[in-house]
């Protein structure tokens, strides 16, 4: 003896892939709605790149670029663009973790929706957050005096490159979010892991002055490659090799961390 729902329809055995995609879009809508209503998150997303730009340009600029603050800005903006989006990926793990501790994922998992939809929805929604960071960084940089010397199309390509990389990195953050007990833990782990990646790279300074062993690390650092590709696309210079290598990194990170995060998500109850 099996039951029907109260309004009489007999439950289906499986969910179609199309329905799963629709579930993901609904949950993307939820994430985007939350960005709009959570003014603190939005403020943080915008203020952080503005602060970094101001601090690095005016505090370090004179010392690093032999007195020319404007020259340094041209160098550092692509770096700060990468750094900002990288930090923003932390939000992915943070929000997933909050959803789990608050019991929201339990509700999702008790609904007849695709198992992967909550994860996919959260990540698609976060791309909007990353895009906001990119827009604010680039916009404010231009106010300070950054100039794109190539073409608007190349600049757009640079932004898309950064977003693509962020979509790979956010799986690392998602994994941390699944493994760590509290949202505070996500921040502690996340920032500790990110500082060496951000600073031991060519994001903020040219790597030539670093000791040899550090140069080796910084040269291979995907952040260095990505920032170099963005510089090439926005200011001219070699692009193809850097863009190719950084996207290879992104692919590698995605292939390793996405399955790990999905597995951790399935296990965490």
């Amino acid at each position: 003896m099996t039951a029907a729902t109260l309004d009489g329809h007999v439950p289906a055995r499986r969910l179609s892939a199309l329905a799963g995609l629709r579930n993901s879009f609904t949950l993307t809508w939820r994430s985007v709605l939350k960005i709009r209503t959570n003014s603190e998150d939005l403020l943080g997303l915008s203020l952080q790149p503005i602060m970094f730009l101001l601090l690095f340009t005016y505090v370090f600029g004179g010392a690093i670029a032999h007195g020319s603050v404007t020259d340094y800005l041209q160098y550092v903006l692509p770096g700060i663009l990468v750094q900002t989006v990288l930090f923003a990926t932390l939000g992915t793990g943070l929000m997933l973790n909050q959803d789990i501790s608050a019991g929201i994922f339990d509700r999702f998992r008790s609904l007849p929706i695709a198992r992967w939809a909550p994860l996919a929805g959260a990540i698609m929604g976060d791309v909007v957050r990353y895009a906001i960071s990119v827009a604010v960084t680039l916009g404010f940089g231009m106010v300070l005096g950054f100039r794109v010397t190539t073409s608007p199309l190349a600049a757009l390509a640079a932004c898309l490159l950064v977003l693509a990389f962020a979509m790979a990195m956010c799986w690392v953050s998602a994994l941390i979010g699944m493994l760590v007990k509290s949202p505070q833990g996500v921040q502690t782990f996340g920032f500790t892991a990110m500082f060496p990646i951000v600073f031991a790279s060519g994001l903020l300074v040219p790597i030539q002055t670093m000791p040899g062993w550090l140069q080796a690390f910084a040269k291979a650092n995907p952040m260095t490659l990505l920032a170099a590709a963005v510089r090439g696309l926005m200011r001219g210079g070699p692009v193809a090799v850097y863009a190719g290598e950084s996207m290879l990194w992104a692919l590698g990170i995605l292939v390793v961390f996405a399955p790990l995060a999905v597995r951790a998500y399935r296990r965490r109850t």
Binding site: T5, P11, T26, N38, A102, G103, D106, R107
Partner: protein, 336 residues
């Protein structure tokens, strides 16, 4: 009568902790089953298995006739779940929380909106509909959580401690809402630590402790089993505890117990009519009293009677209350 919920020999271990150790129970269609037990008894684990959130290590369970493991997707189409911690999204408004669930369940945009408005109205949340949930009171949040579990018109509803942490007014509001759902023909499984809540709402009660069923029956049957009221007598001189026990045993016919702090004797009594006789007998025996009080049975007594041990929380982080002077007024209704 067909069964909406059936659990057979459910086993679940977390490391070396046995959360469920072969638990059996069933609920008939359209009835309310109360799972009663202290913290750590296995109630939430049972609900999580029945709602497909957790796989059992052993045994079987069916909801609406579908296996919760092999036919999980079908089970999910029949059920609604309100968890122990309100699982609504703080950052969204009440309306958007419900629209989101409606959309996830495949309702078209307009239908999801209508359904949300209906439910908000039914749960008395229309005024707060466009406010973010983080501004809601505990009771409002719980009502929204109940509304969220009803968006899909479930035929089986799981309520995991729906009133824990609510004040008496909010609690009785939630009870009223639950009665409305039952009137619609929904089968409800309710977990609770409160005997009176199970008494108010459930047709049948299953008492579980350490992952095992230790008693089943209607609320009246259980109350008859544990006695209606509890008499607590504290002699001024603790040396007379034994004499007090003898008197209570003689007059109540029950086996009185001494509380762990050794200050008073506790006995189940059927009613207040024998109290004068007990007082007279104590007086004649020359026992001076520090305290003499009668109150309703609490979950503590249910457990003491059914299991022979108090309803302690296995993972209690707080010291058990009886290390402090015990008075009738200071006792909590149930161990937390």
């Amino acid at each position: 009568m067909t069964e909406a919920i059936r659990a057979e020999g459910l086993v679940k271990n977390f490391g070396s902790t046995k959360a469920l150790a072969g638990t059996d129970f069933a609920a008939g269609t359209g009835t309310v089953l109360g799972l009663l037990g202290p913290n750590g008894a296995g109630k939430t684990t049972a609900v999580r298995i029945l709602t497909t959130l957790l796989l059992p290590d052993g045994g079987h369970a069916q909801v609406g006739g579908y296996d919760v493991v092999t036919d999980a997707h079908r089970v999910r189409q029949l059920i609604g779940l309100t968890g122990q911690y309100a699982s609504v999204d703080d950052g969204l408004t009440g309306t958007n929380n419900l629209i989101m669930i409606g959309r996830l369940l495949g309702l078209p945009r307009a239908a999801a909106r209508t359904r949300a408005a209906d439910l908000l109205n039914r749960f008395d949340l229309t005024d707060a509909a466009s406010r973010p949930v983080k501004t809601y009171s505990g009771g409002m949040r719980r009502r929204l959580d109940l509304a969220a579990s009803l968006v899909g018109r479930p035929s089986v509803l799981f309520l995991d401690e729906p009133t824990t942490g609510l004040d008496p007014q909010a609690r009785s509001d939630v009870w009223d809402m639950i009665r409305l759902m039952v009137a619609d023909g929904v089968t409800v499984l309710l977990t609770t630590q409160y005997l009176d809540e199970a008494d108010q709402l459930a047709d049948d009660i299953v008492v579980i402790d350490h992952g095992r069923v230790i008693a089943t029956g209607t609320p009246d049957e259980l109350k008859a089993k544990v006695g209606g009221q509890v008499l607590e007598v504290a002699p001024a001189d603790p040396a007379r505890l034994g004499d007090v026990t003898a008197v209570l045993a003689a007059w109540t016919g029950a086996e009185p117990v001494t509380d762990p702090a050794g200050r008073q004797v506790i006995a189940q009594v059927a009613g207040a009519s024998i109290l004068p006789s007990i007082v007279r007998q104590l007086d004649e025996s020359g026992i001076e009293l520090a305290e003499f009080s009668l109150r309703k049975s609490s979950l503590d007594e249910v457990f003491l009677t059914l299991t022979g041990h108090p309803a302690e929380d296995d993972h209690a982080s707080q010291p058990i209350e009886t290390t402090q002077p015990v008075t009738a007024g200071a006792r909590k209704g149930a161990a937390r």
